[in-house]
């Protein structure tokens, strides 16, 4: 019933755009309505989450720490799964995003242990592999994906490496934005 009412709302809103000549190339709600759910190849994130609740629930801190303990081999195997054209498997993309956030976790330390770092032990390798993959990939889309992760966990010292990434004007714009973010807002 909710979906029917939503479809009616969609039709009404779409009709409201029939004022000008020709067709709106990006009509609002174009992909919405009952057809939306049937596009199994390109599900909406909410549908995908609902269908993968159990798997997503496994992506907790213990999983992330266990995965990162696998070091460069495990990390590179995961990052190699990123594809161009937004075609990366959604669970792979989400796992990568979860790991990006996990490496930013800081640990408490006793007051007397002044030499110890609070940084997650895997942050350095994770951030360096993201930059390496962004640099070495041949695909602009894949480079964008990795920069889009590096911006949340990278170091200021990585800014020059980010700026050195070339491929298109759009990519250079993005790299410039990320480099500024890494150097501090």
């Amino acid at each position: 019933m909710k979906r029917f009412l939503f479809a009616v709302m969609v039709a009404a809103a779409t009709a409201a755009f029939a004022d000008g000549p020709g067709k709106d190339p990006v009509a609002p709600f174009e992909d919405y309505g009952p057809a939306m759910a049937s596009d199994k190849a390109h599900p909406m994130a909410v549908e995908w989450q609902n269908a993968n609740n159990a798997e997503l629930a496994k992506l907790d801190d213990a999983w992330a720490d266990g995965f990162l303990a696998g070091g460069k081999t495990a990390i590179d195997a995961l990052l190699a799964e990123v594809k161009p054209d937004y075609a990366t498997d959604a669970m792979t993309a989400t796992r990568i995003a979860v790991l990006t956030q996990r490496v930013m976790a800081t640990s408490p330390k006793p007051w007397w242990k002044f030499w110890a770092s609070r940084e997650h032990p895997a942050r350095s390798i994770w951030a360096s592999r993201l930059l390496a993959f962004a640099t070495e990939s041949k695909s602009v889309d894949v480079k964008l994906f990795f920069l889009d992760q590096l911006r949340w966990c990278g170091y200021p010292s990585q800014a020059p490496g980010v700026l050195a990434i070339k491929g298109s004007k759009e990519l250079s714009d993005f790299a410039e934005m990320v480099a500024v973010e890494l150097k501090g807002r």
């Binding site: 000008g20 709106d24 190339p25 990006v26 390109h42 994130a45 995908w48 937004y86 989400t94």
Partner: protein
Amino acid sequence: MKMKRREFLKTAAGAGLFMIAPYKVLFGAETPSNTLTRALIGFGCIARSANHLPYRGSRLVGLCDPFEYRVKCGLALAEKQGWGKIKAYKDFMELLADPGVDIAHICTPPHWHGCMSVMAADAGKDIWCEKPMTRTVGEGKRVMEVVKAKGRMFRLNTWFRFQDTFYGFGTPVKPIRQVVENGLLGKGPIRCTFGAGQGFSWKFGWSGRVNTVPEQVPAGFDYDMWLGPAPWKPYSAHRVGTSFRGYWDYDSGGLGDMAQHYLDPLQYLLCKDDTSPVKIDYKGPKQHPEAVGRFDRITLTYDDGTTVDLDGDESLKGEPLLRGSNGLCVYPKAKGGKTLRLVDGSGKELDAEKILADLPEPAPQVTDFMQSVRERKTFALNESNGFRSCTMFNLGIVAERLGRGFEFDPVTLRAKNDPAADRFLYQGMREPWRTKMYG
């Protein structure tokens, strides 16, 4: 420096030298010579609604949009609605440079709101901005600073703190404010719940596709301008039509769409216009890095212990909108009822109508933006309290993206000991927009 048209009018009227022409209903407004003028930035869905193109409180003089098709639609519709032939600006910068425009009406997706508000203020315009006020806390802070520094008038396009029925709650916000302001809920913290059970939908339909398909940019569409400060990603119609709401780069799903409508009135009725939550908790699935999904519960906690639960999974359906520290509860208006329901701690329903009749009215608010602009009086929902209510859900959005909670300092406006959260609160922008926004 050429005196602006509006300043001249104020001065002349004050001196009693200016003869205001006889009142004429030309466009349903005052005569063109003393009517405030407005131009629309963006002509997608929302620009057609009552507060935008058809709004008669000011004269519509022009619009712009990165879609040529939508510009043509807008011009045709404006003429049909009695505005005559309005101007099509090449882009919003040309619009902001036009001294004939008093008010810049920002109707773009949220990723543009902050930058355009700052640029409009810099250009000497007063600003009417669609909600959410900004996409991030960092942008909201900057808008607040610049609008104040430039002495501009700013209003957000939501109004439930001062008029209309508060969605499914069934009454306006005023009686709820009266209950809270007059201490009927006790001296301690209040528990607030927002979800389907209280009459509010979180609209999880605003979700992005986990694998959009890159497409050819349509002819007549300036995708680079549409993106503006947002990161460049391959074009896909689903990212750019009204479904932009489903992508983190531009908005944040149902939270981005509805939270300012819901939480701004809540902030007002809780009398918390000058502060923000200090703790944010998140319960829900991990989020896809591109496409906005759902949340189960986001809890915002204020320094005084007041909590606001955003009930995504409807597990709090039976909760009242407000539960006081003394057990008194505020429920939505019942079907056939006259006002909100008050139920005390023992479950006894009180005579809400009688109780409300004896309570003083809240302080009046400036609710006419044209009056605000003319008299330079801060509008009811402005850059300051709008920033705070926007911050409420921007904090929730960060928790969603982090997949966990964090703490926030409402004075420094930074996450506490949490650089990961801070990166989401203060995000970068593409050039030249970053420089135009932050200098």
